[in-house]
């Protein structure tokens, strides 16, 4: 009759009590494992964000933000030099300018239309139509305000259309001006064909004209671009690339910004989720430890007569402690396996909950605001549960069993068989 068999018999003797302890403990351990998994996922995600965003460098004419401020453009010949800087992976120029002609009427403004700042002023102010131009090779052009171009009709530019008289227009602008695919609009004296209509999900974003860089330069008489996005090969080379850019574009000519600010904001969202998961993990561990400790103390207290009998027939404290230890370990392992199984369906949900909770409190995740599109692209957390979670569970179970066996071991050593058998 081995200690293990005796321990298992004792657990089976009270199936409801054992089941209840395993259930409560499984929830605690499961929560702890979920938090371990989410914590690991957020850590990976922080690394990914660092790699993904931290390598972007933006160059704009000095003092310029969007279509406002600053003077002119960045000269194309200087922009071309950027590709030769060591550690630069890609250089993508874009143009932001205003269309002020009469051929098109802005869809934003004139009171009641949700004009700038949502004002319902009765003034006749009409917001200008923004023109954004991208290199045709740009895979995912992002509009000012962070919105993305989602085509609802027509097509985007072909690779050989960098100087073609074509454009893609926002849905609001198209509706306002009755534009359809194939419509031609006079832009500064040139008939430009509408080849696509997009919906960015924002009224402001849908009130834009998008055209190839070469086309915009020709139509608006611009030399060079108004913004350049430079991608470094590694986040640790960003500063070196910035220094090289500064040799081409001195401070008086251009503002050079890295994605550090944006990174910090996204980082804080995921980091908040990470710290929440860490806190919850600690709480779950403490709860699990308390549950198992209380259970074991109750178990030992209820079976004090049995301990007295065992001592009376010659069992040592170590042998009795071992039996209770094995019982505790069996309960912990059963709970840990159940808890580990719980992580598979629940870890992703908890991860999403923590991220959305953090983003709500910090207000940085979403499509609004500067850089919002980029933020939304990277701020989600993919919580993949690996089979390693069972190893963690086993580790937790053993640790809990060891911790929970200390107090009962002390209690067992203090049981005096004569007193127990006399009074119990």
């Amino acid at each position: 009759m081995s200690v293990v068999r005796r321990a298992i018999r004792n657990l089976i003797r009270s199936p409801f009590r054992t089941g209840a302890i395993v259930a409560v403990l499984a929830i605690s351990i499961g929560l702890a494992l979920i938090m371990v998994t989410v914590h690991g996922a957020t850590e990976n995600q922080l690394g990914a964000i660092g790699t993904q965003i931290g390598t972007e460098i933006t160059v704009r004419p000095a003092g310029r933000f969007g279509t406002m401020g600053g003077n002119g453009t960045l000269a194309q010949e200087d922009v071309d030099k950027l590709s030769d800087i060591p550690h630069v992976v890609s250089v993508q120029g874009s143009i932001q300018t205003q269309y002020t002609g009469d051929s098109l009427e802005s869809a934003v403004g004139q009171g009641g239309q949700g004009g700038q700042g949502g004002s319902s002023s009765p003034s006749r102010f009409r917001m200008g139509i923004m023109v954004m131009a991208f290199d045709v090779a740009t895979e995912t052009p992002t509009l000012t305000g962070g919105a993305e171009i989602n085509l609802v009709e027509g097509r985007y530019f072909a690779i050989d259309e960098n100087d073609a008289d074509v454009m893609v227009v926002g849905k609001a602008l198209a509706d306002k001006n009755g534009l359809v695919i194939g419509s031609k609009v006079d832009i500064n004296g040139t008939q430009v064909e509408v080849i696509g209509i997009y919906d960015s999900g924002q009224l402001f974003g849908n009130n834009m004209l998008v055209m190839p860089v070469g086309t915009a330069q020709r139509l608006f008489d611009l030399e060079g671009v108004t913004s350049v996005t430079v991608q470094a090969d590694d986040v640790k080379n960003v500063n070196a690339v910035v220094n090289s850019i500064r040799e081409i574009f001195p401070e008086s000519v251009a503002d050079v910004t890295t994605a550090q600010d944006m990174y910090q904001r996204i980082n804080s969202s995921v980091a908040n989720a990470q710290s929440t998961s860490q806190m919850a993990m600690i709480v779950a561990f403490v709860v699990a430890a308390v549950v198992i400790l209380v259970s074991v103390v109750l178990m030992v207290r209820q079976r004090v007569k049995e301990i007295g009998i065992l001592k009376a027939i010659g069992a040592s404290d170590r042998q009795i402690g071992l039996q209770f230890g094995v019982e505790t370990l069996a309960v912990s392992v059963a709970a840990a396996i159940t808890g580990a199984l719980l992580t598979f369906p629940l870890a992703q949900k908890v991860g999403d909950l923590l991220i959305s909770g953090s983003s709500t409190s910090t207000g940085v995740v979403g499509r609004g605001g500067f850089g919002g599109g980029l933020v939304s692209r990277v701020a989600g957390v993919n919580v993949a549960v690996s089979p390693e979670v069972f190893l963690y569970a086993l580790g937790i179970a053993i640790a809990l069993a060891v911790v929970a066996s200390i107090l009962p071991a002390w209690y067992i050593s203090r049981v005096k068989p004569a007193e127990v058998l006399r009074y119990e």
Partner: protein, 233 residues
């Protein structure tokens, strides 16, 4: 020192318990006696006279306040730790009024338990446990039953078999028939008496005159003192 003839030697034994406040009560008060080997000795007296405490002291379940106890050459009153555990495991076998079997183990497993604690191999444990259960008269069909499925007399037989598991020199039986009807009680006394023929010493605490009548020696206790020692007729 132990006399080869005497298996238990008790000298000036005192056991005091804390009562209310700072007062103490002497459950065993200056007891001295010698018990011969291979005999059945009855410790007789009314409830609360100190019989159980005396057996607990001899069995090393409790520590005396003063005095010495020597059992089979071992100074029980001075042992502790591993020696004390070894003594309980191998030198004495306890039989209790309420049997005190482990409820979730079968009759066979209850008898195997002391052998398991002493490190005997499992197959040897089982063989010896079956022999002991047969020895005490428990039908083989009942070996796999748990205590709750056995009658009081059967449970006490299992308890006696358990007490014999590690072949102790002395069996301490505390009111072994106190919870049994008279017919079953007599059979248990017969069983205990039969152990003497195997060379064991059996000490029975009882207030039952019939049991005392079967003993070779009777120690009479009252208020923690030995008030009489006589040979049974």
């Amino acid at each position: 020192m132990s006399d080869n003839k005497d298996v238990v030697i008790v000298e000036g034994l005192v056991k005091r318990f804390m009562a209310s406040g700072s007062t103490t009560v002497a459950a065993v008060d200056g007891v001295s006696f010698r018990l011969p080997r291979g005999k059945m000795i009855a410790v007789k007296g009314p409830s609360g006279c100190g019989k159980t405490t005396l057996l607990n002291l001899i069995g090393a379940l409790d520590k005396p306040t003063a005095g010495t106890i020597v059992v089979d050459g071992i100074k029980v009153s001075e042992i502790s730790g591993r020696d004390e555990i070894e003594y309980r495991l191998k030198k004495v076998g306890f039989v209790f009024q309420y049997y005190y079997l482990i409820p979730n183990l079968t009759a066979l497993e209850n008898v195997m338990l002391p052998m398991d604690l002493s490190g005997l191999k499992r197959n040897e444990q089982e063989t010896r446990a079956r022999q002991l259960l047969e020895r005490v008269g428990l039908d083989a069909r009942h070996h796999a039953r748990r205590p709750a499925k056995l009658s009081g007399g059967e449970q006490q037989r299992v308890a006696i078999a358990r007490a014999l598991a590690n072949a102790p020199a002395i069996i301490l039986a505390d009111e072994p028939t106190g919870n049994l009807d008279s017919k079953t009680g007599r059979r248990i006394v017969e069983l205990l008496h039969s152990l003497i023929r195997e060379g064991r010493t059996v000490v029975v605490a009882t207030h039952d005159a019939d049991i005392a009548a079967r003993a070779d020696t009777i120690l009479e206790m009252n208020d923690g003192k030995i008030v009489g020692q006589s040979l049974a007729s």
